[in-house]
Assembly symmetry: C2
């Protein structure tokens, strides 16, 4: 996992929103773009950042390019974040 790229990718709210939309399944660039008030070029830039972080995968389907989440990197991210949070002690563990 390219940790730095992943955290950088998550730093932008538009990119987090894109990831959110992809949770429910793959979407084409156009379908994703419909929800945002920025140009396709800007969107494309965000896709590039997400791809560089390996957070999304792409696949051409006819005229469209379809984006989907790379769940394994998302899960790696979960682990890294959990690792950043101090260990929680189970109830009763009064070391």
């Amino acid at each position: 996992m390219k940790q730095q790229e992943v955290f950088r990718a998550l730093a932008d709210p538009t990119r987090r929103a894109i990831l959110k939309r992809l949770q429910k399944g793959a979407l084409s660039a156009g379908e994703i773009g419909a929800a945002f008030d920025i140009t396709g070029a800007s969107l494309s830039h965000h896709f590039a950042v997400l791809k560089q972080a390996d957070l999304v995968r792409t696949e051409r389907r006819g005229r469209s390019i379809v984006y989907s989440l790379n769940t394994s990197v998302m899960e790696d991210l979960t682990r890294v974040v959990l690792d950043l949070v101090p260990a929680r002690r189970p109830r009763g563990d009064d070391r």
Copy 2:
């Protein structure tokens, strides 16, 4: 939780390293700084970003200022990240 501030704070590797060091317990600015090859002024800037995100708390102790993790925000963060990862299906749940 100031989501945007938190993600922005995490985007920098020095700040993630600071949080890591604080996992084991509170440290003064000087103690933290000893581990990094940047000026105190730059360190102070990173502390400000972490404070703005509410990721750390400060307390003056004599001549030093002691930093500690704000674990509740860290836990909020965990939830937000988990929420970004598509639901994992328990084994055997073949919907």
